[in-house]
């Protein structure tokens, strides 16, 4: 204990918290950028994925490796769900002018999130679900006197890799370029022959599969509950605004900025006022750079 320098550990842990914020915001961010809608059910999808992961992990029927396999299968499953979701509920909105589509998407996705909450609460109960990292054999690592939860480290690693992959994907691949084109100028992209419906469907699927990953890690790191989705979405809003919606690595930067702001202000200034300090930092950043920390 004496060997652990609290300051270094604090900085490290605030980075890890930023990783969690980024993880739960990245899918939300790309959907907003490319499809042009706010998916207010994103937080609920994260929660539902966490619930499924919890149910699989805590069942005693199968050996651990098979359970892990099933949990990993959640990611493509959620991607498929995202494709269907876009096709049925979002596609009709995209025929409208962008501004109307954005407003309608608020109603549609908020409505969907309410349905999801109620179905969950009535079928699996209202209690929070959570798994300790011990029960999954995820160790607590001590390196150079710094103690770190491997689940949190995993989240940060994953999000950094995912952000970089996305960055490369968007630069190099055809679909990625289409995504970029749409996010820069929708009409021009359509004019140039970009398949808008397909691209937005793929983007949505990508967004929900990222939500699935977020849920799987969140149930280990924190907890999931039927009515905690919307606060998570609101957090994601703050994260992507802070980081800027202009870039794929925006959520990562925004998440780390928010995580550090919250943690450091709670440690050095006042734990009660730290959420407020985070708000003030958010507003200050916006006023200085009205489109977030990362520019287009």
């Amino acid at each position: 204990m004496a060997a652990a320098p609290p300051l270094a550990e604090l900085v490290l842990n605030s980075l890890l918290l930023g990783g969690i914020y980024a993880l739960t915001s990245l899918g939300f961010s790309i959907v907003f950028r490319v499809v042009g809608i706010l998916n207010l059910a994103h937080g609920d999808l994260v929660m539902v994925s966490g619930l499924f992961a919890y149910l699989v992990f805590t069942s005693d029927l199968m050996p651990f490796t098979i359970r892990l396999l099933f949990v990993i299968l959640l990611i493509p499953l959620f991607a498929a769900f995202g494709l269907a979701f876009e096709r049925v509920l979002i596609r009709p909105l995209l025929r409208k002018p962008p501004n109307e589509a954005l407003l309608s998407s608020v109603l549609v996705t908020l409505g969907f999130s309410l349905v999801l909450q109620d179905v969950w609460a009535n079928s699996f109960g209202t209690l929070q679900k959570s798994i300790t990292s011990e029960s999954l054999g995820l160790p607590i690592i001590t390196v150079a006197g710094l103690t770190v939860a491997s689940s949190r480290l995993l989240a940060l690693l994953f999000i950094v890799i995912a952000s970089i992959l996305l960055f490369v994907f968007v630069r190099k691949s055809y679909v990625g370029k289409a995504m970029r084109a749409i996010s820069q100028d929708r009409e021009a992209a359509m004019f140039l022959g970009v398949n808008l419906p397909n691209t937005s469907m793929i983007t949505f699927g990508l967004g929900t599969s990222l939500a699935a990953v977020g849920g799987i890690l969140l149930v280990i790191i924190q907890s999931v509950a039927p009515f905690s989705g919307l606060p998570l979405t609101v957090k994601a809003l703050a994260v992507i605004v802070l980081g800027g919606t202009g870039s794929m690595i925006g959520p990562l930067i925004g998440g780390i900025a928010l995580g550090s702001a919250e943690t450091l202000s709670a440690f050095f200034i006042d734990p009660y006022w730290s959420p407020g300090i985070a708000v003030i930092i958010l507003v200050a950043v916006l006023l200085l750079r009205p489109t977030g920390l990362v520019r287009r």
Binding site: F32, F112, L230, V241
Partner: protein, 327 residues
């Protein structure tokens, strides 16, 4: 067409007038205390949604933190009335406090556009919740246990104030829409840069819109506290309540005068009806209604009715022309 338009407005005024008279005599005739409660909350949320729409619907700036004005009005009123200066002065003094707050806020916040404005204002709600619930301000705000005013039976008086507030807010929105100011706001919504080029003082207009919408919301907060006599901060500054003015306006139809009213009517009826009849899945049913309205109607319920009317009108005209064109 012009005739139809005119008569429609007259019809709306007539219907609105009748409704107001019915609601005014309600407490003495057909309305139970429970009914009065339901309509009181309906009116509060209607005026909140209506005042939100001055910025959200007319100007196109989605103010997710509209409830902060409500909260400021509520707390200002509570603090004044606890200073024993009487309800009348408290009501009057609360308004300039909210207006000043909105004016101060507009300087930095209106520099932000669209999505960024929405999120920054949303963040403000949490900040206010934090401030009024804190130990530092507890001597005047009551801290986490909430603000409490001397309990009297103010329910009837506050009901009429809420009714008056809704009427005044709605009329103001109507007057703003038909004025040069309103056309200026609409031009900002459509394209802020072009509006500026055409000589609209966008900074002033946006600021005025924000202040006007804040005053109505603040007054709603004052009435709310007078009615309830005790209000805990997290029950008005929580996420559920924060989104409500926006969702109600969207549900009814944002940017139209009667949209927010219809939205709050629909919301209250579904909400109270469901909760008291079926105890499960009430959230889900509201969710399904949001979903369907979002899918079917870009302009909410009002937009849906409008498109239906236009379609029918177009069809009937087609038929007429087809009949006429018959050789």
């Amino acid at each position: 067409m012009v005739l139809i338009g005119l008569s429609r407005i007259r019809f709306a005024f007539l219907l609105g007038g009748l409704l107001v008279v019915a609601l005014a005599v309600g407490p003495f005739t057909f309305l139970s205390l429970y009914g009065l409660n339901v309509i009181f909350f309906l009116l509060i949320f209607a005026s909140l949604a209506q005042s939100y729409d001055i910025v959200g619907g007319l100007t196109g700036y989605i103010n997710l933190g509209h409830i902060t004005f409500f909260g400021i009005g509520l707390y200002a009123f509570g603090i004044f009335i606890n200073m024993r200066i009487g309800p009348l002065f408290s009501f009057m003094l609360g308004v300039p406090v909210v207006a000043l707050f909105a004016a101060a806020l507009s300087i930095p916040f209106l520099r932000l556009r669209g999505f960024y404005f929405a999120v920054a204002t949303l963040a403000l709600v949490g900040l206010l919740d934090l401030a009024v619930g804190s130990n530092a301000l507890a001597p005047i705000t009551g801290g986490f246990a909430g603000i409490r005013i001397v309990a009297q039976n103010n329910q009837f008086a506050s009901y009429y104030l809420a009714l008056a507030l809704t009427v005044v807010t709605t009329l103001s929105v109507y007057l703003i829409r038909t004025s040069k100011f309103g056309r200026g706001l609409l031009s900002i919504r459509d394209d802020e840069q072009i509006a500026e080029v055409w000589g609209v003082n966008t900074v002033l207009y946006k600021r005025l819109a924000l202040i006007i919408s804040a005053i109505f919301a603040g007054f709603a907060g004052e009435v709310y506290l007078w009615f309830l006599t005790i209000v805990a901060p997290s029950t008005v500054l929580g996420l559920d309540v924060t989104f409500r003015p926006v969702t109600i306006a969207l549900l009814g139809g944002t940017g139209s005068v009667i949209g927010p009213l219809i939205g709050s009517l629909l919301f209250s009826v579904i909400d109270q009806g469901l909760i008291t009849q079926v105890s499960y899945f009430s959230r889900g049913v509201i969710g399904i209604i949001f979903l369907l309205v979002g899918l079917a109607a870009p302009g909410g319920v009002v937009g849906f009715i409008k498109t239906q009317m236009v379609r029918r009108f177009a069809i009937s005209r087609q038929r007429v022309s087809r009949v006429r064109n018959r050789p």
